[in-house]
């Protein structure tokens, strides 16, 4: 079946009324999640995951993915109108987006942001459509040594691209890998670190950890948010940018789309990194860099396009290789696994309706978000008027309800509370919880691949260097580690620190 025919199959699935409804629901919830500071897409997806148990795999993953890319749209709304980044990836939009709003160009900023997000999201889906199937076909040649090498590269790349120190990121990833060892060892049947608690026999679930670290942990770190008594709500007729603004936005949108998608392929918080990178690049190549920080259109168009393209690009390794590149795709992968649909190279052939229905729904979802975010911007912004005193109680309630519903187990909720406390402490000492979640998800795959590789080779470690694909992946990982170590040894600020500093100056 050609790609076009497969995509048509996908649209047949995506245009079913029930699928459209769940895509819409995901987009609305995602936009709300993006608008509300303190609740990110990860917490939103994790909390709603149990609600999807009564749905089939296609509806579940479409709704949950809608929350993810919907949140990228919603985060820009508060960034532009209130200088509050609803999402971490919207931090850069705060700078020039709010400056545009102060000049009376809030509508133009919102429109450029929404249209740029739509173009970037659609571009991302197009490229996903083209490269995911051949990548999946290539990955069918992967055996345990290749998967082990790929996971090593993934972790090293995550650490290298992270804005926090390499050592700290690796330590968090190791902690996640360690948490993933709790439970029954599937190869030998030994119970590991369950301390006689039956519920821990199946291991620690991703949902309690993710909701605890990102949902509850954020609430514990946020004593209060100042009440929003009024918010700018541009009228529909004021939304259109001028011709000059469109001209200024065109190339940044194009560059942001390509950059974001490429960054999205790599492990790490791609949607955040891509927006920072895009801003820095646009400022560097602009003929008027002095405008940045004072309402430069490129400062809105580029980052917003980049973060949407990145969120789409992140799906490529998840769907084609079964490799999550961040905590959000890790939870989405867990959702697929719970519904009996293992992501990876066999997904395209074994579950074509799920894969192509998901891809097609992203085209539809981007259109829905464009329609939602422009006319209804006033409605979404008014959600911020809910006093934090009531809002945080709601969030904690949903955290408890969502986690309990996974296995009807109060042990899971206790784990969530413990992770919430840990998340609070981690924020205090400047540790990023994302690598921990990633480590937790990939730990079983990593261990299984490593042990199978050693069994295959009869204990010979050189298997990772004698198989060409594994060797290439290991060499790339070694190169990245070497680059990072060089900058540490020379006490030089590398490109990540400079980028963070440059963003901080703006």
């Amino acid at each position: 079946m050609s790609t076009f025919d497969s995509l048509m199959l996908g649209f047949e699935v995506a245009f079913q009324p029930a699928i459209l409804w769940y895509a819409f629901l995901g987009c609305v919830v995602g936009t709300l999640v993006g608008v509300l500071p303190g609740i990110g897409p990860l917490a939103g997806i994790s909390i709603l995951l149990p609600v999807t148990y009564g749905l089939d795999a296609t509806k579940a993953v479409i709704m949950l993915a809608g929350i993810y890319y919907g949140s990228q749209y919603g985060g820009s709304t508060t960034a532009i109108l209130l200088r509050i980044p609803g999402e971490a990836s919207s931090v850069m939009t705060c700078i020039d987006g709010y400056a545009m709003a102060q000049r009376g160009r809030a509508g133009a900023a919102l429109c450029i942001s929404a249209v740029g997000s739509f173009i970037a999201g659609t571009f991302g889906v197009l490229v996903l459509t083209l490269i995911a199937p051949p990548l999946a076909a290539f990955a069918l040649r992967f055996g345990p040594p290749e998967y082990t090498a790929l996971l090593v590269l993934g972790l090293v790349m995550l650490a290298y691209l992270s804005s926090t120190a390499l050592t700290r990121t690796l330590l968090m990833a190791l902690t996640g890998l360690m948490l993933g060892t709790i439970g029954i060892d599937t190869m030998t049947g030994h119970f590991r670190y369950s301390f006689g608690i039956a519920e821990l026999g199946d291991g620690i679930g991703i949902v309690p950890v993710a909701v605890g670290l990102f949902g509850l942990g954020e609430i514990l770190s946020t004593p209060a948010i100042a009440a929003i008594t009024s918010a700018i709500a541009p009228k529909l007729r004021d939304l259109l940018p001028s011709r000059t603004e469109w001209r200024e936005a065109a190339m940044p949108i194009a560059r942001g789309s390509v950059l974001g998608f490429l960054v999205g392929l790599a492990p790490g918080s791609a949607h955040i990194i891509s927006s920072f990178l895009s801003y820095a690049i646009e400022k560097r190549i602009s003929k008027h860099p002095e405008q940045f920080g004072h309402g430069a259109v490129a400062g809105v168009a580029g980052p917003e396009s980049a973060n949407n393209a990145a969120s789409t690009g992140a799906f490529v390794p998840m769907l084609a290789l079964g490799l999550p590149t961040g905590p959000v795709t890790a939870v989405l992968m867990a959702a697929l696994l719970i519904h009996g649909v293992p992501p990876g190279p066999t997904l395209v052939n074994d579950h074509p309706k799920v894969f192509w229905g998901f891809v097609a729904s992203m085209y539809v979802g981007n259109l829905m978000l464009l329609a939602l975010n422009l006319p209804l911007v006033g409605l979404f912004v008014n959600v911020l008027r809910i006093p934090y005193a009531y809002l945080y109680g709601l969030v904690i309630m949903f955290c408890i309800v969502g986690v309990y519903a996974v296995n009807n187990s109060v042990v899971d909720v206790w784990i969530m509370l413990a992770m919430g406390g840990l998340g609070y402490l981690m924020r205090k000492v400047g540790l990023d919880p994302a690598p921990l979640v990633l480590g937790l998800v990939i730990s079983p795959i990593f261990e299984m691949s490593l042990r199978q590789s050693l069994i295959m080779s009869n204990g010979n470690w050189t298997i990772f260097f004698t198989r060409p694909i594994a060797l290439v992946l290991i060499l790339i990982a070694a190169l990245l580690l070497g680059l990072a170590l060089m900058s540490i040894l020379r006490h030089r600020r590398d490109w990540r620190a400079k980028l963070a500093e440059s963003a901080g100056e703006s």
Partner: protein, 167 residues
């Protein structure tokens, strides 16, 4: 170097020759990582490591523990440029601890009292914590838990916990 003067988390240590050693966050993180790695190795005693040709259940955790110890030592060794531990502000702990305690209490009674009562009381207390009027907090707590119960049980068909009282 000379003797180290009295020191604690809130102040640097001073050697008798005047050199100051500041406790940094990387020292603390590194120390915790090392302690965790040692603990894991200690409690993994019964797990068989196996052989390289057939790795046992204990190989992977012990390998990770060793790597954690190595990274912990690396963090401590490079800690001189990190943030001082004493510089961390803890003023939000007066928010975090009561919130965590209230959530824990709700969870402790969740299966006994059911969703409506345990969560309703939790939301009420959380609103009071933010100094909202008692009546407003009570109405919000009760209304939220009832509305959520209806939403999940009837619309989303994902039943919530009923306690001893049947609701």
């Amino acid at each position: 170097m000379g003797e180290v003067g009295p020191c604690h988390f809130a102040s640097p240590c001073r050697y008798s020759n005047g050199q100051i050693v500041t406790l940094r966050t990387d020292h603390v993180i590194g120390g915790v990582a090392i302690a965790l790695g040692i603990l894991i190795i200690a409690i993994s005693g019964e797990l068989p490591v196996g052989s390289l040709s057939f790795p046992g259940a204990g190989l992977w955790p012990k390998l990770l523990a060793v790597l954690m110890i190595v990274l912990g030592l690396t963090l401590i060794a490079g800690a001189r440029e990190g943030d001082a531990f004493a510089a961390i502000r803890w003023d939000d702990v007066t928010h975090a601890l009561p919130v965590l305690a209230l959530a824990a209490a709700a969870v402790a009674f969740y299966e006994t009292l059911g969703f409506i009562i345990s969560i309703g009381v939790m939301v009420f207390c959380l609103a009071l914590l933010q100094k909202k009027p008692v009546l407003h907090a009570a109405v919000f707590g009760a209304g939220t838990s009832l509305a959520t119960y209806v939403l999940f049980t009837m619309l989303l068909r994902s039943p919530l916990e009923r306690g001893l009282f049947g609701f």
